[in-house]
């Protein structure tokens, strides 16, 4: 017997204390949110946001995401371990809406995976080769590195990375994945976050510029920093003073972190005791991400500078010797340190972080597919689990094919920008916020029996938090549809916005079509969601 909280008696029973530690859930959310990749985005895109204040941008993004993090935490505590927003939305709104949100989210994850695979090629392996050449290892390394930034280099490298990710599950299953992941996250934290912060703290901008010139000299260009500045000026660069407008527009980049920082749904305990892992870990991860960026942004700005990053975004890379394209922050950190070892640690950590995200995403989407199949919306084959590897191999294969298509799109076309998927990924969150707002009215008994049965100024607490989340997610969607850099602005990318809505609508149509097909097969899909009388 144990007594887990004042006034409670618990008995010996399985599963009683299976609640994830808050610390673990915090890190899970932080690592899933791709702080490193987002940081790379921002500086690669700095030229598109003249006068933006990065600190203010990410704080606004965090502010928009915080109510959603609280809402997800509350909903997860209310309905732990039941499939995330698929369940929230199905119960509060309609099964077709729950499915559409989950399908849409999975679709856009399949799209965004092409960003990861091509960044692995260009800013991982490509940067590695260029770093070796930049520190004097020979021109062969430059050719090697530059190949990864070619169309075929991006596609082949990305596809191989995806196949290796899938092979992890096919050959070693979840156990092998977890072993690899444990090591990879340590290297990611070291290379993509800690090393850049320390290099930024200990190195001056002057030293960086001198090292940059030395580095580029190995590519046959002398005084590269001056040539970079000249090329950027020709392209229209001018130092910009603070602009609130571009600062708000730049929120769309940092939304890559703060819109999706509550993925620790799995850390649910069986009994809603006083311990509130989710309430601490989801909003807590927002705070932790802010702290990480509060370290990264000033130190990076100190050593590289906003203007230098903007120049890299505007200038012709051949003008300063970087023929394959502008360098991302891990390569610049290596240059700033004047050390190939530091450079390789930073590039390696960044690349490993992206590589780890691939199997995580394959797994996440395959779990969604499993849930659809479980409810008879999709063929039962999708829920097949290989007995040897204990992995849903068919679902993983489907996601693998979609991911390779996405890699091809990002390698050979410019249809999508790096953050185009954000609008599609945010729409389901917005719908979840509506579902959370309505839940106290749609599932009265569930909410009244929960720790969130209270009211604020006469409004159910879930409704109040849900309303703030609607404003947060809605605000983020408004920025994404306003900012031309997002790739989904109404003014410049109206077809992409229509695609986002179209995917959602198509998913709803798929649900109704599946229901009709199953009915012909003698299966009543509605039974899967039908509430049994509790009287």
């Amino acid at each position: 017997m144990s007594s887990t909280a004042p006034g409670l008696f618990t008995r010996r029973a399985t599963g009683l204390v299976r609640e994830g530690r808050t610390r673990d859930a915090l890190f899970y959310n932080l690592l899933w949110s791709s702080v490193g990749l987002t940081f790379a985005f921002f500086w690669l895109f700095a030229a598109f946001y003249p006068g933006a204040n990065a600190l203010l941008s990410f704080l606004i993004a965090a502010g928009l995401g915080l109510p959603g993090a609280f809402l997800y935490a509350m909903l997860t505590q209310l309905m732990p371990r039941t499939g995330g927003d698929y369940v929230f939305n199905s119960r509060s709104l309609h099964p077709s809406i729950g499915f559409a949100g989950n399908f849409s989210y999975s679709f856009w994850l399949a799209v965004v995976i092409g960003v990861y695979t091509t960044y692995i090629a260009a800013y991982g392996f490509g940067a590695f080769g260029r770093t070796m050449a930049g520190f004097g290892a020979g021109g062969g390394w430059l050719s090697f590195g530059d190949w990864f930034s070619t169309d075929w280099g991006l596609f082949i490298t990305g596809t191989v990375a995806l196949l290796l990710s899938a092979a992890i599950f096919a050959l070693g299953g979840m156990r092998l994945f977890f072993k690899i992941q444990a090591v990879c996250f340590g290297l990611y934290l070291l290379g993509a976050i800690l090393v850049p912060v320390f290099v930024g703290l200990l190195t001056s901008h002057g030293t960086f510029v001198a090292n940059f010139n030395d580095y580029a000299s190995h590519f046959g260009v002398q005084d590269a920093a001056a040539k970079l500045a000249s090329s950027a000026r020709d392209a229209g660069f001018a130092p910009a003073s603070f602009s609130l407008e571009t600062t708000i527009r730049a929120v769309s980049v940092f939304w890559f972190i703060f819109g999706f920082i509550f993925s620790s749904n799995y850390f649910a305990g069986e009994i809603r005791l006083a311990k509130r892992t989710h309430i601490y870990s989801m909003p807590g991860a927002v705070v932790l991400a802010v702290l990480v960026l509060l370290c990264l942004v000033p130190t990076y700005t100190h050593v590289i500078g906003y203007d230098f990053s903007s120049q890299l975004g505007l200038a012709d890379p051949t003008a300063y010797g970087f023929t394959a394209g502008a360098p991302a922050y891990p390569e610049l950190i290596g240059i700033a340190a004047g050390s190939p070892v530091i450079g390789i640690i930073a590039i390696g950590g960044f690349t490993i972080g992206l590589l780890t995200w691939l199997p995580q995403t394959l797994m996440l989407v395959s779990r969604n597919m499993f849930a659809w199949s479980f409810d008879n919306i999709m063929p039962s084959k999708l829920s097949y689990v290989d007995p040897r590897s204990r992995s849903p191999l068919i679902a993983i294969c489907v996601m693998l094919v979609l991911s390779i298509i996405s890699t091809a799109i990002y390698s050979f076309t410019d249809w999508f920008s790096s953050i185009t998927a954000l609008l599609g990924l945010t729409l389901p969150l917005f719908v979840t916020a509506i579902a959370g707002t309505l839940l106290p009215f749609r599932q009265k008994a569930l909410v009244e029996s929960s720790p969130y049965s209270g009211k604020v100024l006469g409004i159910p607490v879930l409704t109040a938090v849900g309303t703030l989340a609607i404003l947060g997610f809605g605000g983020a969607m408004a920025i994404l549809m306003w900012d031309p850099g997002s790739g989904t602005s109404l003014s410049e990318n109206a077809p992409k916005v229509a695609l986002v809505a179209g995917v959602y609508a198509a998913a709803m149509a798929i649900w109704f079509a599946s229901r009709a097909i199953r009915k012909q097969q003698g299966i009543d899909v509605d039974l899967a969601y039908q509430e049994l009388p509790a009287a």
Binding site: M1, T14, P80, Q181, F370, F374, A528, Q530, P533
Partner: protein, 330 residues
């Protein structure tokens, strides 16, 4: 053993005919009064002729309502409150719907229970749970249609008194450790689990589990229309994945995520592989719902989300030697 509690064949034909039975299976409701009522209502809602509850019917937490001068003091979800009158009944309702047991007691009784040894307190728990469970069985007697067969067995988390309560019920039938029949089908049941880190009330070694299942299966003989109703799922299947736990019963992390391991029974797997029944039904591992074929046997675990007020179950259509299933969450 041959312990047929009732021989209630419904005359749906002999062994060669294509008789049909619609069965609803759920498990692991862990003291949730809402889920018990939904389980009983599933018979009419899903037009199921047979209901099977696969174990772990009792809860894990008693919430004391301590009587003081100003009302009953209660601590729920970390929030302390004082309630009386209607609010007291509402609070008790809220506690029950969360799968916990409200228990009115004096300050002296609270101190007495707090001072009990572990074994003594398990006994006190059993008494509290038995009172509630008796009420559940009375509700079943009141609700169930006479034509509906309703089998309930305890699971590894259920204390000893649960068996006796089921035995004494009128319409609910005991099946644990027995062979029962409905239509053309035979079902063997076992609520015990293999060893867990929690030292729950009904655990056996793998050897003992295998011996019990084998004894019943050998007595049945023909497996073509036999159902194994075994609380614990087979080891190394898609039905037995749960987070690994450390010595403090905390989830073991691997990288950024919980380390998942198989916690099912090797004995159950061996029995299924050896006897190849038509169907096997399992609970126990809440977070691993699914269906999987082990040879010709369809093995099912509907999982459990008992704390959400929704019952995870599976509708099973038995027709001759074939079986179709559909997961339902009610």
């Amino acid at each position: 053993m041959g312990l047929f509690k009732r021989s209630n064949d419904k005359g749906n034909g002999g062994s060669g005919s294509a008789s049909a039975v619609r069965l609803y299976y759920a498990s692991d409701i862990h003291g949730s009064a809402v889920l018990w009522r939904k389980f009983l209502n599933a018979a009419s809602a899903y037009k199921a002729e047979v209901l099977v509850m696969g174990g772990d019917v009792t809860g894990k937490v008693v919430v004391p309502l301590v009587e003081r001068d100003d009302g009953f003091h209660v601590d729920l979800f970390g929030q302390r409150s004082v309630v009386s009158g209607e609010a007291l009944e509402e609070m008790e309702h809220k506690i029950r719907n969360n799968g916990m047991y409200p228990h009115r007691m004096s300050g002296e009784e609270l101190e007495r229970v707090a001072a009990l040894s572990e074994e003594e307190r398990e006994g006190w728990f059993a008494d509290v749970m038995r009172t509630t469970f008796d009420g559940w069985l009375a509700l079943a007697d009141d609700r169930l249609d006479p034509a509906t067969r309703c089998f309930v067995m305890p699971g590894n988390d259920d204390p000893a008194g649960v068996d006796r309560a089921i035995e004494e019920a009128v319409k609910v039938e005991a099946c644990d450790g027995r062979i029962v029949r409905f239509g053309d089908y035979t079902m063997i049941s076992l609520g015990y689990a293999n060893r867990t880190p929690f030292d729950s009330p009904r655990e056996l070694t793998e050897e003992d589990l295998l011996a019990r299942v084998v004894a019943m299966a050998e007595e049945v003989g023909d497996m073509t229309r036999c159902i194994f109703n075994l609380h614990v799922p087979p080891y190394e299947s898609s039905l037995d994945s749960a987070p690994a736990l450390d010595e403090n019963l905390a989830v073991v992390m691997s990288g950024s995520a919980p380390k998942m391991i198989g916690v099912g029974s090797t004995a159950v797997r061996e029995a299924i592989e050896r006897f190849q029944p038509l169907l096997s039904l399992h609970g126990h591992v809440h977070e691993s719902p699914g269906a999987e074929h082990i040879g010709r046997t369809l093995s099912i675990n509907p999982g459990s989300d008992y704390h959400t007020g929704r019952i995870s179950g599976c509708l099973i259509q038995l027709r001759g030697d074939s079986v179709r299933h559909q997961f339902v969450t009610g």
